[in-house]
Amino acid sequence: MNRQIVKLFALVVALFAVLIGFTSYWSVFDAKALKEKNANKRPLLEQQQIKRGRILAADGTVLARSVAKGHGAGLRYVRRYPEGSLYGHPIGYSFVQQGDSEFEQFHNDELVGNGSEFSSILDQLGGGNQEGNDVVTNLDPTAQRVALSDLEERGFGAVVAIEPQSGRVRVMASNAPYDPNRVPYQLERLNANETETPLLDRATQGQYPPGSTFKVVTAAAGLDSGTITPETAFDAPGSLEVEGQPLENDFSQSFSGISLDTALTFSVNTWFAQLGEKVGEDTLFEYMDRFGFNAQPAIDLPEDEVSKSGVYSEGRLLGPGDPVDLARVAIGQERLAVTPLQMAEVAAAVADKGKLMKPQIWSRVVEPDGHVAKRMDPSEYSQPVSAQTAEELATAMEGVVSAGTGTNAAIPGVAVAGKTGTAETPSETCGGSSEANQAWFIGFAPADEPKIAIAATIECTTEFGNDVAAPIFRDVAETILNGE
């Protein structure tokens, strides 16, 4: 019988090997897929037991914090947003059932205190409980409040304010706002609200025609490529026939022998249409790329929650070589769709001597013991234009506010450089209303020593950029300059 007993033991060894096989499959090889299963709430429940760090404004105002519920094995943390809807964008939310979004999602690892694999094993051996770090932002609470209330007075839209030299995002406001505290029980309702779309961060996902604000980009390409100088002058008729359609100035006004300053001050469409054609498609697209168009913006928000800006055709970004109506691209119409964030970056690059910094919302990561673990290191995205071109553009943009179409942006005692925009929106995007404008203002102040660059926009309005967007710029810029 001994032979059989040995064989039986061999069978037992084989059976136990099967058990080890299955155990390793679940615990190691298939573990990642299992953790992502819908039915598996375990990873979420575990994360809920970690005290997530706070999110703070630049002045220390608490924008998000975690409060403990229950105790012992029932201990869990729930996210609270003391400022309510003021920072729904761009902070976003983080809840076990509803998931996370925006800043909360992008900075998740810092907020839950996920270090490297090695340090977390050390933590485990040390028996320490995982605790999250605080993340301090660059957001200016006073200016954020001004921006949102200005927007709420005027319509749906967004404001983005960036410190040009560092890329620090000081304001990012989107109207309609939402209160992240309501997400746990109102997410579906918020999602279903198609008129207000409160969960859409218009600052980073609103895709609007830039209108005349885009003339800054066209002018930058013209000057920097050497196509024109600030003195180059040519005629701008009241109307031009482009691609079989008339392209007109406001009130069909014609100008003869004007240079950049005058053309920008009065936002002369036919002048910029001709400039665009002089510059050429390849060069214009190249300068767009340099300003950050046609690429994922380098901001610290989740990729799928930040749209790229550019000329779109059926959801696809067009590039050099694609057939486009260059004259109308040059004046910010055609199929251009841009985000307020992108236009703020254009203003910031002109303000910072032609240098574009990566826009960043976060400023530093602070460990629970107060030790600063990481600091935001301002870094350059690109140098779209030379310092000289930037200076020439700034001069022309000053004229817009002092004597041109953007007078409502003027701040007493401070030189302001800017550009208005009033784009025609396809009527179907504004619920069929025929006179729907996208009103814009982009600019920076003080013009000679810029401290802040801002883009403000209102969608589906009957008014012009100078009427609704320029005052928002003024209020926000003034608030930030006063706070300095």
Partner: protein
Amino acid sequence: MTARNRELIALFPVAILLTAGFAAVFAQENAQLDNASLIYGAYFFAACLATHVYLRIRLPAADPYLFPLVALLTAFGLVMVYRIDANLARDQANWFVLGLVLFAATIHFLRDYDVLERYRYTIAAAGLLLLLAPRLPGIGQQVNGAYLGVKLGPLAFQPAEFSKICIVVFLASYLREHREVLIVGARRVLGVTIPPLKHLGPMLVVWGASMFMLVFIRDLGSSLMFFAAFLALLYVATGRLSFVVIGMAMFLLGAWFFAATVPHVHDRVDVWLDPYAHPRASGYQILQSIFAQADGGLFGKGFGQALITIPGTHEALLPAAQTDTIYALIVNELGLFGACAVVLIYLLIAARGFKVALLADDGFSKLLATGLTAVFAIQAFVIIGGVTRAIPLTGVTLPFISYGGSSIVANFVLLALLLLVSDRARRETT
């Protein structure tokens, strides 16, 4: 070194491990070290030491590793159960002591275990009666659709745990006597060697008992365990693989038939094949068991770190963590490495058990040791296999680790029988 001295030395690391385990759980729960872990460690060591001294006197030649290995599993189980609920661990510790008492009693009264052969039909009848008991009105209890428990006044137990020993004793004895005729009388029909029909009777009884369990007790796990142990013994006794194949075919045929007709069995199989069909209802336990394992990874989350209930509620995240799915909890907290260690301990026990069978020199001793070892190993396989979805999940305990008095006590009796066989075998060989 003598066998008993080896046993004594092996018990030290076990006691230290238990103490360290308790210390780890204390540290996790109270964020401080408590000398209670030392006290528990001392109690445990004292109990093991007393048993060791008893073995030294009564069974000096018995296998030196079986008892320390079992003590290791028990220590491990105590720590895991304590980590789930301190009150359950107190019960478990009491059962451990009761198990040791019955262990000693078995050794005391069955020193001449040949006596079991004489009462084999009585024992078989007792085994079957035990199996039937959960369906008897008044004392039977239904758990999760299966009739597993018996309640006699304040005493509640799971008779299948004891029944398995009775059945193994009967089969070992029966096959010892009839193995010759089963071999000699076998005929070849259509190229397949079949056992002689007149000796097939008891086999049919065992098959019937398994099917009965499937249908009336609805205990798929025990049914599988019994029948597998029976086939193992049949194979060892006759050396005829064809008998095993026929037996397996009969079992599968019956199981297939009842799986199609008995809803309880049918559901278990369905859940096994597709747990995602009803992730919140019938598939919940197996899915949560697998998710808990996925969370363990290579090294696990550490003692006391696993979530067993949904925080803030009393809803189970890992249902039956202290019994059926305790293995999933082990994987979660100790990782693949910890789980491998547990499986390895079972394998070592099986190896020592089969070694006892190899050394034994009469047929009954050989078959008894084989049967006891096989039923023990298969029990571990059935529940670990169930929890890891290798086979349908059934309510069988993980021997010596799961919370449960019947399981601990019955398995200590099983161990006592193995050591009795071992002592005699090793005395004769040396």
